[in-house]
Homo-oligomer: 332 residues x 2
């Protein structure tokens, strides 16, 4: 096994976020499930764009945000995902490369437009996503370059990849190559409704040991084990034998192993502006720590710090120098 | 003279801002004049996009920002400007209509792309603009609808309209129609380099009484009268007989008439994030006050409040409910 050339290779849907402020009333009127990732088709996308408030456009995509966060923390990061050769696809490509993430997936030259997520941020800072997958539906196993995967210390995959039809094959191919090369594979459960859609498959991935590390928030973990009780869900997860990391908003996070459960505190913040990307940036911090051989506690603190930065401004991409912040907090 | 159906009709370049953080070093390396509006061609636009950091995309355009600010303050506002029928043009159109600004200029279906300004925000909060005019070059006198102009209490024109070749005709047509209908015409000097390019023409507009109200910042006023001394510039302006409003950043503003000069304080702020749109939002507040028959002092305070909001976040479009803020500050 050679030393990895990349610390973290993230694979996910390549999405640009179209963000607007909205009141709770708006979500109710439009029948949008608050806090969730709602999948939408093109006519619905056009409708939501027409009725939404003025927009701020910032690149997003869950795993892509994680790759960007890792790069901003100083990790060597890569990303695989599918855009189209349109204006929005060029914006996505520019933004991820501008922070040093290696991104070489061939863009689609025809077919649906680059994916976008219409994100409504309510006055409480909660984000509600409405995602048109567009060109992401063209991601296939052929986009998984074996050498790129073999060269990555950790391959990080988003559960959302189960939504576009061919992407799950890409997911399994990447995980299989990574394990054959002696690398680690991480999965984020993405969204509680996503877990609802693919519960059996996610559990199978974990039980077949195709993933070694699982990221979830409380509602995703509840959904995975179909329980409303957090301790029950955690006890169930402990039996899986994987490394689990569960984020709990202002309550911090817990790191779950077969040996036990370690609680780690959240990072102090001034005020929540937009929670988009909180979980993605937590994963960025945790994985960057892991790539450097840090303790789980230190990994979780790095994750908490990166998440704290991203929820204090609009958009899921860090605006501050995370590496410098981490050094000042003596976490790197 | 019938009562106006619109309070403020703004005419200007329809631009979407592509905003990135940058260090002063970057501006020096790229030979960009800090704080100015630099006009760029397409190859230069492509170059700057390639070398810039990750972007936030938010609609902009000086007069368009003013129309949006006025609408957010509760004024009835309209805008005339030219986009193309592309993705960026659709974003601009959506954003300005989403806040209630009447915008009906026919978009160009061919020719150059919708205009964009690559804006670099340095750590001091100063913004430096690099504008590719694109579709704005297709704005002509034919886009000035006589009934629309006649129906507006105040027509607000940006000096930047002197840059695209045919727009100055549109400017003069609009001003002439407005005066024939007994309406007021306001001009912003836009940028000190813009004043440098068109000094004689701007002075002629004022002296021919084609404009009644002039907005400027200190460096624009210095440039207009080619003096480094503020009091000299103000004394020169007083001779013109127009209403002048000069913004002075944290020193507030002054309102200049033939009768005298009134200084009005700035609005307190917590921290400057991005000064883009400060002058545009000041004009929005001032003109909204004027449309309501407020005192000049009250107009300038409304302007200061709107400017204070916009410089405390990224982008030149207000994020807060300006009308509510103004009511709480007892300015409306």
């Amino acid at each position: 096994m050679t030393a990895p050339a990349t610390d973290i290779l993230a694979i996910g849907n390549a999405i640009v976020d179209v963000i607007a402020q909205a009141e709770d009333d708006f979500l109710i009127r439009e029948k949008i499930y608050k806090g969730a990732m709602n999948l939408i088709d093109e006519p619905r996308a056009e409708h939501l764009f027409r009725v939404m408030g003025p927009a701020t456009v910032i690149s997003g995509g869950s795993a892509a945000n994680t790759a960007v966060g890792a790069a901003r923390l100083g990790a060597r990061a890569g990303f695989i995902g599918k855009v189209k050769t349109d204006e929005i696809g060029r914006l996505f490509t520019h933004d991820i490369r501008a922070v040093g993430v290696a991104f070489a997936t061939a863009p689609a030259s025809d077919g649906p437009a680059t994916a976008r997520s219409f994100i409504f941020v309510t006055p409480d800072g909660e984000r509600t996503m409405n995602t048109y997958l567009g060109a992401c539906q063209n991601l296939t196993a052929a986009d998984i370059d074996e050498a790129t995967v073999r060269a990555a210390g950790i391959v990080y995959l988003e559960g959302y990849l189960w939504d576009p039809p061919a992407a799950k094959e890409a997911f399994v191919k990447a995980a299989t190559i990574a394990h054959a090369a002696g690398r680690r594979v991480a999965l984020t459960l993405s969204d509680s409704f996503c877990v609802d859609r693919y519960r059996a498959e996610f559990l199978e991935l974990i039980r077949r040991k195709l993933v070694d590390i699982v990221f979830a928030n409380e509602s995703e973990l509840h959904s995975l084990y179909q329980t409303a009780d957090f301790d029950t869900a955690v006890a169930e997860f402990r039996k899986e034998g994987a490394l689990g990391v569960c984020t709990r908003s202002e309550k911090g996070s817990i790191v779950v192993t077969a040996k036990g459960v370690e609680a780690v505190e959240a990072f102090p913040i001034e005020r929540i502006v937009d929670t988009t990307g909180a979980g993605d940036l937590f994963a960025a911090g945790f994985l960057t720590g892991l790539a450097r051989g840090a303790s789980y506690r230190n990994c979780a603190l790095l994750g908490a710090m990166a998440a704290a930065e991203v929820i204090q401004h609009i958009g899921a991409r860090p605006e501050s120098d995370l590496r410098q912040m981490a050094e000042q907090a003596r976490l790197l």
